[in-house]
């Protein structure tokens, strides 16, 4: 793989693409750290530190969002919203297609129609960005953004600055909205002229950007030994994840449409790759989002006295505490359930069988149509068992660290599994793309 990178840098065209991607990522990180106008940098830093040091029982709902924005959200920086508005907008547009037939028609019109839908998605993104930034600014002003942490108001009041509030607030909203627009553009630039899918690359960078500071914190609080052990475990996990992510079962397919003399060419080239982890990272996100609900409930139940009543105390001890056995077991089972659920939704054996039949393809020895669909279903449900167990294990592993490293310290770790899965997924994708572009460009000395 290293040689691939060296080669990539030797190919001018590819080098340009990689450097361009790095350049864009640099801009993205810069914007993620650039404080928005009207926000007190010192106070934000104090608040974030206080937030990170607090008890895990007070984990905010925004942790996931914060993770995806690379820590920019809590910093209230220019790119505070990250690319979440764009992702949300894409999902909404997809859903709208079911409701609004015109959109479905546009989609069918191919290139020009899809370009229009993309344009609508962009507008929607900006709309969402206005909503979200207003909400976050309001939360920040009321002090709720940092959960229960007591710290000074990050957006100084008029009394301190002499600038009227509505100017500050509207400037903030406009800045963050514009920031979202810029992120959207950066993402598209990477997709068009760089390496990999822009959106995934930016998410990858957001998550990766937090690793050094997290690592450093562990080194500070737990000492070098724990830190090195953690590194070792991380390498092991990443290796295992890569291994599993690349695992696939290949179902051979033959096409009986062309007749080339008497000759039949190698059948091995045509197959359906069924991945062990056919569902990707989504089931983990679903499961952990669901497990946030009890925590959210806790926050509402908190009347400030610290006494929730017996039910909520039980919840706090068993379901909202990542190191509790019940939490871990629930998490594990939820992931398995969601994996099956998601695979059954996104991989429809009937559609695949229909498509194969339509173009004259068949699995050798199995009739096209229903028998093929049943066969695919059979293989898929078995391979998904392995996949779901793997996902669950990877996702649950960090929770054991909680038990080992006396709890409370690592807020961002509930997403340890998610983060690794996302990063490995995106990383593999980018490396594959580099490889394939390399392949296109030099033929390893075919003509010396």
């Amino acid at each position: 793989m290293l040689s691939a990178f060296v080669n990539a840098f030797r190919t001018p065209d590819l080098r340009k693409k990689i450097l361009f991607t790095i350049f864009i990522v640099g801009i993205y990180r810069l914007g993620a750290n650039l404080p928005s106008p009207g926000v007190s940098y010192d106070r934000v830093q104090t608040c974030v530190r206080a937030f990170e040091d607090q008890d895990s029982s007070g984990i905010g709902v925004f942790t996931l969002l914060n993770l995806f924005s690379g820590g920019a959200l809590l910093q209230l920086s220019v790119f505070a919203l990250g690319i979440m508005p764009y992702i949300t907008a894409s999902i909404i547009m997809q859903l709208l297609r079911v409701v609004i037939p015109r959109l479905e028609l546009l989609q069918k019109e191919g290139q020009s129609g899809q370009a229009k839908i993309t344009q609508y998605t962009r507008y929607l993104t900006l709309g969402l960005a206005v909503l979200q930034s207003s909400a976050f600014v309001a939360l920040a002003r009321s002090g709720q953004l940092f959960g229960g942490v007591q710290c000074e108001n990050v957006i100084p009041e008029r009394i301190d600055t002499g600038i009227s509030d509505w100017i500050v607030v509207s400037t903030l909203v406009v800045t963050m909205t514009a920031g979202t627009g810029v992120i959207m553009w950066l993402g598209e630039l990477i997709t068009d002229r760089g390496i990999g899918n822009g959106m995934s690359t930016l998410i990858f960078c957001s998550i990766a950007a937090q690793l050094p500071s997290e690592g450093w914190r562990i080194q500070q609080t737990e000492g070098p030994a724990a830190f090195i052990a953690l590194l070792g475990v991380a390498v092991l996990i990443i290796t295992a994840v890569i291994f599993m992510e690349l695992g696939q079962r290949r179902i051979p397919v033959q096409y009986a449409k062309r007749m080339i003399g008497r000759r039949m060419y190698g059948n091995t080239s045509t197959y359906i790759p069924l991945k062990i982890n056919q569902a990707g990272v989504i089931p983990v996100i679903f499961a952990s989002s669901l497990l946030y609900l009890p925590q959210l409930g806790l926050q509402f139940a908190d009347d400030g006295t610290g006494d929730y009543g017996p039910f909520w105390t039980w919840v706090a001890d068993n379901i909202a505490r990542p190191s509790a056995p019940l939490y871990i077991v629930t998490y594990f089972l939820l992931i398995i359930f969601f994996t099956y659920f998601y695979v059954s939704i996104t991989f429809n054996p009937n559609d695949v069988a229909d498509n194969m039949k339509k173009y004259g393809g068949f699995v050798p020895g199995i009739r096209p149509g229903k028998p093929t669909a049943e066969y695919l279903d059979f293989v898929l449900s078995r391979i998904t068992l392995a996949g779901s167990l793997y996902l669950a294990v990877v996702a649950v592993l960090p929770n054991f660290f909680f038990i080992y490293l006396d709890d409370q310290q690592f807020n961002n770790f509930p997403f340890g599994g998610t983060a690794v899965l996302i990063m490995v997924g995106v990383g593999l994708e980018s490396v594959k793309q580099i490889e394939s572009q390399l392949m296109q460009r030099n033929y390893e000395g075919f003509l010396r």
Binding site: R262, M264, E435, Y443
Partner: protein, 841 residues
């Protein structure tokens, strides 16, 4: 252009809206200079003009001289608009110029200009042979005056004539001939056989048609391979008995067909209770599939016509017979079987290049057409070309009426006939554009039934095309045509001599009626463009029925159940209007998608082709093959010897073993012998070397001998002979290797979209297969060359096994979406909505 307009254009460009075009203002600003220079030129005599022509450099000088030369040679002085066209061609754009605006002259002056600016020779690429020859001969006097030589190539040109034509400054040739000449040159086995078109500048006539519609059509050189016809004939007979929708189903988009489970059972029974999908019956399955395709999807007089006992393909965009085009992969044979014709030899692809890749070989490409703006984005994406919209010399006064929609085909045809006979009664000339040959003939019958005399122009009588078109504008003329009349023909009002111009013009000129919208707005616009040339009066209208293929395929579920209908069957409902337009946009989108996919998958193959062509060139023009053979032969022989020795050992051992065992068990002997035999076969598949090792060694020394003497005193003749044989062996294996490689890639391509299911990018996966396969190709070819050379008898005049080269054919493209299942999110949404039961299926 005013400042505000310019700003607006910039802004549109900034927003990347479609339809952005080149700013003509800088070019227009030069017109007065051209005019002034032109006046100076009038004082020169012809010789002086020719001399000035050979010295011209800048676009102003070129335009002025070109204009003056055309004026003297043809009596036609180029309008300012034409000069703009010339200048935008020189700048390397696609000029959009309406019908009758004099594109031929523009191409001529631009061709001269490109040569003058050092970008010669210039090829003017036309859509057919007829136009190539006509334009070249028409413009010859202008070229003569400009001091340029001009030539043309048609299908019937001999190799000598081609070579001569390509040596001229400007060559008129149809794009497919030019492409085939290039491909043939790539596959010659003797340098002297080349016709050597030099690819520098291409001026593409009907640019949207060639650059976009045809771009994805591969030009294919194929050698003949015999197809097994027995299963095909059996399958053809069998398929004829199958019932649509019961035994087989045609997909909604009409591009694919498959057996239903019931049909499968029927077929299996008829073939003697076989399992069609078991490995051993692969041939039967192939035959049934391809026969079914020919039976259900390929229609006589729509997709092809039968003429002189042969199947001839009809080009879907132009309605003409596609010269020398064949369906691949056994489909041609299946159609021939369906029509009960003799099968022509099946092709195996030897070399292929898409028209797009071919055009990419020209460093300079520019073009002209009447409909470019609609494909502006595609021209930019695929060719990096910008569109320059040249204003008309006279404004168009044609009236384009809104579509007339009818619920059923019968109602539409009735209304169509009524409309035509009404016009005919008035004396107004009518040109009817129908969808296909079959329809044109049916309409002609219907018209004659109501006593309207009409002329039919379709692929079947294309020989009379020029004569029919010449008279299409006369009083009372009714011409029923296919898309053939839609492009490149110039219909003058009042007949060829324009005698009746006034009378016809008083009747509002030519009336163009389309029976149904085409798959692309450009085709519709081209058809409309037949009326109203050069400011003539004219009219156009389309009669659409909701049963038209276009509507049924792409908008069937959008038609409201009870649209508003007038008493005469005319539908007046904006929802229906929208549905028809939508259907057309979908069809355009589909074609674009096919084009883009074909191209994306073709890029690497094209690179590989060029790489291999470089190597082939080396083998062809130098003694590289001999050097290779001399280098590798000793090693190869040693290997063969070692193998033979090992094999002899194995045999002896086996025999010895067998002998000892004879006494013990007679049966074991037979086993052992059989085993030894198979072992021997596996070790050395070549029966020739399967002799006793000593004799073999003698034999093998033969080719080694000349090599040893090579260092000392091999005669030039001997060496020459060996070089020639090595070369022809090398070229043979290279071409074969490439043909096999192409077949492998075609195979990979077919199913690669399935990889998307594993969240892999199909294109990347294709490269992942294509690139390593190619890297191994050179090794494989070299090995084969050495092997064959080792076995070749040097003294004789060695010939590779007879492969008939040079049988052109074309490929049948069908839609394989890159990811037919949609993105994960799309699958999610559609699956959820399906579960909610809110949608069909």
């Amino acid at each position: 252009m005013s400042l505000s307009l310019r700003l607006k254009a910039r802004f549109r460009r900034f927003l990347e809206r479609p339809g952005t075009t080149v700013d003509l203002a800088p070019l227009s600003a030069q017109l007065p200079a051209v005019e002034a220079r032109g006046e100076e030129l009038t004082s020169l005599d012809d010789d002086e003009l020719t001399e000035a022509a050979t010295e011209a450099a800048g676009p102003i000088e070129i335009s002025a001289i070109g204009r003056e030369a055309a004026h003297r040679a043809l009596g036609e002085r180029a309008y300012d608009e034409q000069v703009l066209g010339v200048m935008s061609l020189l700048a390397g754009h696609v000029s959009e110029m309406a019908t009758g605006e004099g594109k031929t002259l523009v191409a001529c002056i631009a061709g001269y200009g490109h040569v003058r600016r050092g970008n010669g020779p210039v090829h003017v690429l036309t859509i057919n042979d007829y136009l190539a020859r006509r334009d070249a001969e028409w413009m010859a006097p202008v070229y003569r005056l400009l001091g340029m030589s001009v030539g043309w190539v048609t299908e019937n040109s001999t190799r000598e004539e081609r070579r001569e034509a390509y040596a001229k400054d400007v060559t008129y040739v149809s794009v497919s001939e030019a492409g085939f000449d290039y491909l043939r040159d790539q596959l010659v086995t003797d340098v002297a056989d080349r016709v050597k078109p030099q690819l520098v500048t291409a001026i593409v006539d009907e640019a949207d048609s060639i650059l976009i519609d045809e771009a994805r059509v591969p030009l294919v050189l194929a050698g003949s391979v015999t197809t097994e016809l027995d299963p095909l004939h059996a399958a053809t007979a069998l398929v004829r008995e199958l019932r649509p929708d019961v035994d087989y189903e045609v997909a909604d988009d009409g591009r694919s067909v498959a057996l239903t489970p019931q049909g499968t059972v029927t077929v299996e029974k008829a073939q003697g209770d076989i399992d069609l999908y078991a490995d051993e019956y692969a041939t039967q399955l192939f035959a049934v599939n391809v026969a079914l395709h020919a039976h259900a999807l390929v229609q006589r007089d729509v997709d092809y016509i039968v003429r002189n006992g042969a199947v001839e393909l009809v080009d879907e965009f132009r309605g003409r017979v596609a010269q020398r085009r064949r369906w691949p992969d056994g489909l041609q044979a299946a159609v021939e079987a369906k029509e009960g014709l003799d099968a022509t030899a099946e092709g195996e692809v030897l070399g292929t290049i898409t028209i797009q890749s071919y055009l990419k070989l020209y460093p300079h490409v520019c073009g002209m057409t009447a409909t470019a703006v609609l494909v502006g984005d595609q021209l930019r994406e695929f060719f990096d070309l910008e569109v320059a919209v040249i204003p008309r010399h006279k404004p168009v006064i044609r009236t384009d009426e809104p579509d007339r929609l009818y619920a059923s085909r019968e109602e539409r045809d009735e209304a169509l006939v009524a409309e035509i006979s009404a016009c005919h009664a008035e004396g107004r000339p009518v040109l009817v554009g129908t969808q296909d040959v079959k329809e044109s003939e049916a309409l002609a019958v219907a018209l004659r039934a109501v006593d309207v005399s009409c002329v039919v122009l379709n692929a079947k009588n294309d020989a009379e095309e020029a004569a029919i078109i010449a008279e299409a504008g006369t009083h009372e003329a009714v011409t029923v045509s296919t898309q053939m009349a839609g492009r490149g023909v110039d219909i003058r009002l009042g007949g060829s001599d324009q005698a009746d111009w006034d009378r016809v013009a008083d009747l509002d000129g030519l009336y163009v009626i389309g029976s149904g919208r085409h798959d692309s707005r450009r085709v519709d616009d081209q058809l409309r463009g037949r009326a109203g040339r050069q400011g003539d009066p004219g009219g156009s209208v389309f009669f659409v029925s909701l049963e038209d293929d276009l509507v049924v395929r792409h908008a069937a579920d959008m038609i409201p159940s009870s649209p508003r209908i007038h008493a005469d069957g005319l539908i007046d409902d904006s929802d229906v209007d929208y549905a028809v337009e939508h259907a057309q946009r979908v069809a355009e989108g589909v074609n674009f998608e096919i084009h883009r996919n074909t191209w994306r998958y073709h890029v690497v193959v094209e690179q590989q082709r060029q790489d291999l062509a470089t190597w082939r060139e080396e083998l062809l023009t130098t003694d590289a093959a001999l050097t290779l053979v001399d280098e590798r032969l000793p090693a190869h022989l040693a290997e063969v010897e070692a193998k033979a020795a090992a094999e002899a050992d194995a045999e002896a051992e086996a025999e010895a073993e067998a002998e000892t065992e004879t006494e013990a068990d007679a049966e074991a002997e037979a086993d052992a012998k059989a085993e030894a035999e198979t072992e021997a076969e596996e070790a050395e598949p070549d029966p020739e070397t399967d002799t006793d090792p000593e004799a073999e060694a003698d034999e093998l020394e033969e080719p080694e001998e000349p090599e040893e003497s090579d260092e000392s005193d091999e005669s030039d003749e001997e060496r020459e002979l060996r070089a020639r044989i090595a070369r022809s062996i090398a070229l043979f294996h290279l071409d074969r290797g490439w043909a096999e490689h192409l077949a492998t890639l075609a195979e990979v391509r077919e199913g690669v979209h399935l990889r998307a299911l594993g969240r892999l990018d199909p294109l990347d996966e294709f490269h992942r297969a294509a690139v390593p396969a190619f890297t191994q190709l050179r090794d494989k070819i070299e090995r084969r060359i050495v092997e064959t050379y080792a076995e070749a008898d040097i003294s004789e005049d060695w010939q590779p096994a007879d492969v008939n080269l040079l049988r052109p054919s074309a490929t049948w493209t069908y839609l394989v979406h890159d990811n037919p299942f949609g993105s994960e999110l799309e699958r999610l949404v559609s699956s959820v909505s399906r579960r909610l039961g809110s949608r069909r299926r």
